[in-house]
């Protein structure tokens, strides 16, 4: 048994009929704001007869100040089409669908204009006219799908009802009987709230891309925190850890009386891992690790160095650590390279020269006679902006090999770092 609701009058809200239908069944198919189809299968146990069910629908509609046309019929198409033509409540007994549809206009079938024009050319005006034609003749003239039109016109519809999904809302509120103070008791409460929230996300094939936590405090104020991790997750443990880590750095100023969690859903990742590629880090664990390192990353001390496209020595910026998929790259051939252990900022030095070459270097712990040297390498750039110009030397002292340079604009010597 199907129900059809249709309102020719403007509705107070676009979802008014859908909300009315959902009072009776979760299986509702909406065609815009109207008409709306209901799957009434199994409701016979709650209402003694289809008419009683129809009257209950009508009564519920009136309570909402709606005046829809309501049809209860054995087929989907009959409920849908008759509701667009008959005023008030109509209940079609099994077998009455064809008779009820017969006087209705052809235009209700929503045919394409060319085909409707053809049928009108044949003198057909109503669904009954179409239903009376022989199926074989229709198929010969209009193609293989024409018999299906004839079946629809007779109220025979084997298409299933495609339920419209419920609007997604992933929020959970908990009022506490006693206020809690401190993160440890809150941890248990968060687990209790996050479990059903994350289960709901997982059931719908969703992950939370962000989570908003609103704490109602005893002093009447609200403490709001929003988390946006590197990767969406529906793992309650991950979210609980991230929330607790965030609250450690941004604690509420009073005891907590209530909490609300709202998740913003996003479709789950559909990643098919390859047997031949290296295992990639779990995004959830990566997000959790980066949250634990929040103190380092928040002020730019942690992340991935990104080299800048410039000849200025030591030019780089810190980017966020989000390793992408492994693409495979070859290791440069040859022996291992020397590393440079830089001083930030470069250490000011006093350098004695002999025949224009460094002979003695003194810069704190880096001090001694130059035993050997290579240079100079003169480099400069950015004359149009913040210009720099330097003369680099690699010098061997008794305590190691260092890179020193003379800033040619400031006429000062510096130790850049230790070659190691």
């Amino acid at each position: 048994m199907y129900g059809g609701l249709h309102s020719p009058a403007p509705l107070p809200s676009p979802g008014a009929l859908v909300d009315l239908a959902r009072e009776f069944t979760p299986r509702v198919e909406a065609f815009g704001s109207t008409p709306v189809l209901l799957d009434l299968q199994g409701l016979g146990r709650a209402w003694p007869s289809p008419r009683a069910l129809g009257e209950a629908l009508l009564e519920a509609a009136r309570a909402r100040r709606l005046e829809p046309r309501i049809v209860l019929a054995g087929s989907r198409i009959a409920a849908l089409l008759v509701s667009q033509a008959q005023e008030g409540l109509t209940v079609l007994a099994p077998g009455e669908e064809a008779a009820a549809l017969a006087p209705l206009p052809l235009s209700l079938l929503d045919l394409d204009p060319e085909r409707e024009e053809t049928l009108r050319g044949w003198g057909l005006r109503t669904l009954g006219d179409l239903a009376a034609l022989p199926a074989a003749g229709l198929a010969e003239r209009l193609g293989p799908d024409a018999p299906r039109l004839r079946r629809l016109a007779r109220g025979e519809d084997d298409a299933p009802l495609v339920a419209t999904a419920l609007p997604e809302s992933f929020a959970c509120t908990l009022e506490l009987e006693w206020p809690v103070d401190g993160l440890e008791p809150l941890s248990f409460i968060l687990a209790r709230v996050l479990e059903p929230l994350c289960s709901g996300l997982a059931w719908r094939g969703r992950r939370a891309v962000s989570l908003v936590l609103e704490l109602g405090l005893v002093d009447g104020s609200r403490h709001r925190r929003a988390l946006h991790p590197a990767a969406p997750s529906a793992d309650p443990r991950t979210w609980r850890t991230l929330l607790l880590l965030d609250l450690e750095t941004h604690p509420p100023r009073d005891a907590i009386q209530a909490l609300t969690l709202r998740a913003e859903p996003t479709p789950a990742r559909t990643v098919q891992f390859s047997l031949l590629d290296p295992a990639q880090p779990s995004p959830e664990r990566l997000a959790e690790t980066m949250a634990r390192l929040h103190e380092w990353t928040s002020d730019g001390r942690g992340g991935t160095p990104v080299l800048l496209d410039t000849h200025r020595p030591g030019a780089f910026v810190m980017g966020s650590f989000t390793p992408g998929p492994f693409t495979g790259s070859r290791l440069p051939a040859g022996p291992p390279r020397i590393g440079l252990r830089v001083f930030r900022p470069p250490r000011p030095a006093e350098v004695s020269l002999r025949e224009g070459r460094p002979a003695f270097v003194s810069a704190g712990s880096v001090r001694g006679a130059v035993l050997d040297r290579a240079g100079p390498w003169r480099v400069s750039g950015d004359w149009w902006d913040v210009a720099w110009s330097r003369e680099e030397w690699d010098v061997a002292l008794a305590g190691g090999v260092y890179r020193i340079f003379r800033d040619r604009l400031r006429e000062a010597w510096f130790v850049e770092g230790e070659l190691d």
């Binding site: 664990r285 020595p313 780089f316 495979g328 790259s329 291992p336 252990r341």
Partner: protein, 253 residues
């Protein structure tokens, strides 16, 4: 997937050596394979590379090649698709030289300490624990070179035992870089490097370049029982960006 089919596939991977240089497949126990540094002499001494699940250390005086050796290891790991973490309490790491050494910087997490902050070292040790506990990284480097010995001694006595316990079940190798011996795990490697001489491209004068550093390396699972000595050469053939070296200019008259 049936176990027989899975076994056949894994056997094919082994036979075709598709996993020779890449990190092991999901579910495979990665602790079995050590991390090779790519420096043949060093890997021979270590029996294949630095062991996973252990703290190893590389120590020596300035310009002994400690950083170059660990950069070679990091380059090999990141180029194979795994992740590396570099905890740097004194902020001495140079990304330009790391890239020139072959390291894939996109797979490197660099944590820079505030060099003059009083708690830079304890914070760095705590961050190292976080990286080790995540299990995401194949290599975690804690760079203690240049940190005064007294600061290292001020750390709680159980620091290294705690970190060692933490990674015993992890597929991670932790490397301490220092000026002198600090600590290493019971199965970890202890590489002691001594600075040799700098090598130059020619006689003193204009046009001369630093060609490399020669170092001596002693590797032993226990510092009291050194097993061998090995000489390695560390050459810097390119500039900071890995480009060919800039030709030196003669000093102005």
């Amino acid at each position: 997937m049936g176990s027989a089919l899975k076994h056949t596939l894994e056997e094919m991977l082994r036979v075709r050596r598709l996993q020779a240089d890449a990190p092991p497949l999901r579910g495979q126990d990665r602790r079995l394979s050590p991390l090779p540094t790519g420096v043949a002499g060093v890997d021979d001494l270590l029996g294949g590379g630095l062991p996973r699940g252990q703290i190893s250390e590389v120590h020596g005086p300035p310009s002994a090649g400690r950083t170059g050796l660990v950069l070679a290891l990091g380059a090999r790991i990141t180029r194979a698709g795994a992740l590396a973490g570099w905890v740097d309490p004194r902020d001495r790491f140079d990304p330009g030289h790391a890239a020139a050494a072959g390291m894939d910087l996109a797979r490197l997490l660099w944590l820079r300490g505030r060099a003059r902050a009083p708690r830079a070292l304890p914070e760095a040790v705590a961050a190292t624990g976080t990286l080790l506990g995540s299990g995401l990284f194949d290599l975690v480097v804690l760079d203690l070179a240049g940190v005064p010995a007294v600061e290292v001694q001020r750390l709680p006595g159980a620091t290294w035992i705690r970190l060692q316990r933490m990674i015993e079940s992890m597929p991670t190798a932790m490397v301490l870089v220092g000026d002198a011996h600090v600590a290493h795990g019971p199965g970890g490697a202890c590489l002691a490097m001594t600075a040799g001489s700098a090598r130059w491209t020619g006689p003193p004068g204009p046009g001369r370049l630093l060609r490399g550093l020669s170092s001596e390396l002693r590797a032993g699972r226990h510092t009291l029982r050194p097993v061998a000595f090995e000489r390695i050469g560390l050459d810097e053939l390119g500039g900071a960006s890995g480009a060919p070296p800039r030709p030196p200019l003669a000093p102005r008259e």
